[in-house]
Assembly symmetry: C2
Amino acid sequence: MGKKLTTRKEDYSKWYNELVVSANLAENSAVRGCMVIKPYGYAIWEKMQAELDRMFKETGHENAYFPLFVPKSLFEAEEKNAEGFAKECAVVTHYRLKTDPENPSKLIVDPEAKLEEELIVRPTSEAIIWNTYKGWIQSYRDLPILINQWANVVRWEMRTRLFLRTAEFLWQEGHTAHASKTEAIAEAEQMNNIYAQFVENFMGIPVIKGTKSENERFAGAVETYCIEALMQDGKALQAGTSHFLGQNFAKAFDVKFASKEGNLEHVWATSWGVSTRLVGALIMTHSDDQGLVLPPNLAPIQVVIVPIYKGEEQLAQISEVANDLVNKLRNVGVSVKYDDRDTQKPGWKFAQYELQGVPVRIAIGPKDLEKGSVELARRDTLSKEIVPQGEIVEKVKGLMTEIQENLYNRALKYRDEHITEVNSFEEFKEVLNTKGGFISAHWDGTSETELKIKEKTKATIRLIPIEGKKEAGNCVYSGNASPQRVLFAKAY
Amino acid sequence: MGKKLTTRKEDYSKWYNELVVSANLAENSAVRGCMVIKPYGYAIWEKMQAELDRMFKETGHENAYFPLFVPKSLFEAEEKNAEGFAKECAVVTHYRLKTDPENPSKLIVDPEAKLEEELIVRPTSEAIIWNTYKGWIQSYRDLPILINQWANVVRWEMRTRLFLRTAEFLWQEGHTAHASKTEAIAEAEQMNNIYAQFVENFMGIPVIKGTKSENERFAGAVETYCIEALMQDGKALQAGTSHFLGQNFAKAFDVKFASKEGNLEHVWATSWGVSTRLVGALIMTHSDDQGLVLPPNLAPIQVVIVPIYKGEEQLAQISEVANDLVNKLRNVGVSVKYDDRDTQKPGWKFAQYELQGVPVRIAIGPKDLEKGSVELARRDTLSKEIVPQGEIVEKVKGLMTEIQENLYNRALKYRDEHITEVNSFEEFKEVLNTKGGFISAHWDGTSETELKIKEKTKATIRLIPIEGKKEAGNCVYSGNASPQRVLFAKAY
């Protein structure tokens, strides 16, 4: 707890950075672009992991673990994928240090311990995994393979921001192998739908489902499905992607199977992932100038109880009520913390839990003892009310659902108010610069037009929507025919 | 399922390697010394993680995540730790690849993308973590810090073996910071005790608790606590270590705190870890010539049901009984798989589940339908019995405990029979070469003697026992005074 946060209006980007650090979510490390995820931030990620893992397993996926390193020769096997990631790869070239002969307290790389072949720290694992699948797949009986991996990956980005873009990040990456194109496409779509469900229902963040244009597609994919969310500054954030990889990796790694009919065919593939970037989306979607706002599903502490007292005797009386409440709330599955530390004042605690986004705060003081009540404050609405002690458990149970829904609805309202249909390039630029958000416009389907628009406005095509109306029209830039509107936005 | 395993007697090491691969636990990868942990092996690791994580949290620890890379200048800050790991470090020197001008289909390291400072892929995280803690600790109020990290680490070992010693492995590493020496020692001891409880009660592997001699101590530790287990070939395996690091890292990274009394003091530290190596210990402790034997606590599938049938109608009748059983067993928390695949014969399935160590196998055939019974087989004893259908749920519930205990007791019996007290160096060598196991002998406490014994016998001091009798005597090698017996063994 220190000084107040910069407000979102003053400087959205500064507000975000200050919030991440002051709410104890993460901080920069001594390694350029790599972050330290602090316990409070990591606890949120653990909750996300647990729910995603449950959803993956429910749909028949198993976890496994593949090596951190990719030998250069494998890395370059699938050409487009290699091209896409080559510019941001951390490369291991040596396997030993030795004492610096000129300064014995220092270590230097031992030139005699140079690797014969360089190792790439995985930016994504298609290459190493498909090289492995080659040994696992002979017949249609070996398919499908439905595997997910929880791992760290490294992409040497030049401009990094906590959670949103870091040189190392944590993620899950699913890699599946199928006997048919139809099945692989169905898998890629299924996983994009699972991501949408997770992000909407569990994180309270509304998303739009779509596919990517060729420019924005994953390197090596035939089709990239995605979900996009809108942040409070009107910029879009890609929250998850699922790729139909066709037979590209099977061909690059020579992975064939004997079909039921006895033909030897290349295997069909998908991959899909979400990362710690979602924590950034969570922060930016719900939080306010007072700090973090967390949906109950992801809050490490759902309810905090703060005693307001003078002297030991009063504290003892309040603690009796509080501890009883703690037990009752835990019994109904609510995570609760009773903060009776005497090293900090109640006001400090209030501000701290507000900053850290604890959904419900309960204060108990001497007057509450007299009246058999407590003061209950909601983080999402910053409202307070007096609640009789006997009604708290039901009240809190109800609030867990209500707050979750309120956050989603609030974000949905903002998002829906920030999708604007435009019909000319002038209007496009005007809306982008004044209101921001998603701009729904006709596009002629060419990369050329997309890049021109990007060059002139910094907006890119976030997605070609899957759902909703599909009327034809004319491209806002070229005037050429367009089969449906697509969504443009500036993006994280 | 292929040919039979090499037996333990024929070639223990070969038996182990074949078993790991054929039971679908793990396999070697295209990266020297790095393994692929396959879904069945990973599922065991996940169960270990879940229980350890629960135990860590119950004792007040939180998870966090620190960078994969350690800048060289930080890596070398704590001299002994740096010295201990310098010889086996993967070093990142570049951050980009580019197209090979001589061969455009190939990539080469871009010499212009050389890092100013090399990055070490963490072999352990004390350096990066203590550099971070420096920013977190000012006062005694900031202590203790009780953090654990689940991560991958890399040690460029020259001789690797699946699970037991791999260049990359998965582990957890706890890193705690304390205001006093006493508190830090208590933490290190507590975590060693937690490891012992976990390995004994959950994995069914008996261990002995002790401290390491100076030679075997963790690089940078003041004291290393450890638990050691005995494998079926008479070799010891270090199953977990917990280090009291004194103020070594606090001094190296200048981490001080203002004490309650207002003095500025260096912080006291511990670190502790167990790794995927424990999966190797699990395999080697319980398994037999038929394959893997898993304690029920760690079995991804605790019960498998195999139908024995001719024709669809019979299968339908059997499936009705089987599915009912599946539901009933799941209701009491038993994980169960009904394998009604028609692509494999029952005999193949029996052998496969035996190889994969499923604790209980239930077969249901036409005769069982008539009699209202099933055939139940235990993997640990390879025994079979006929059980009335109405009694199965209770029977299986009981077996989950019974098998867990039986495996532990069997391993304990073997271990206890392989601790031999010797009183001369001749006897030492004789026992080591004939019977193996732990050799309980007096030692004069010097590194010189320990190294001489190692040179002559390949046995090292596995630990100085914490519990048990402590009579004085004379060193088996030098004849000098010894305060207590220590345990020697050849080790993994």
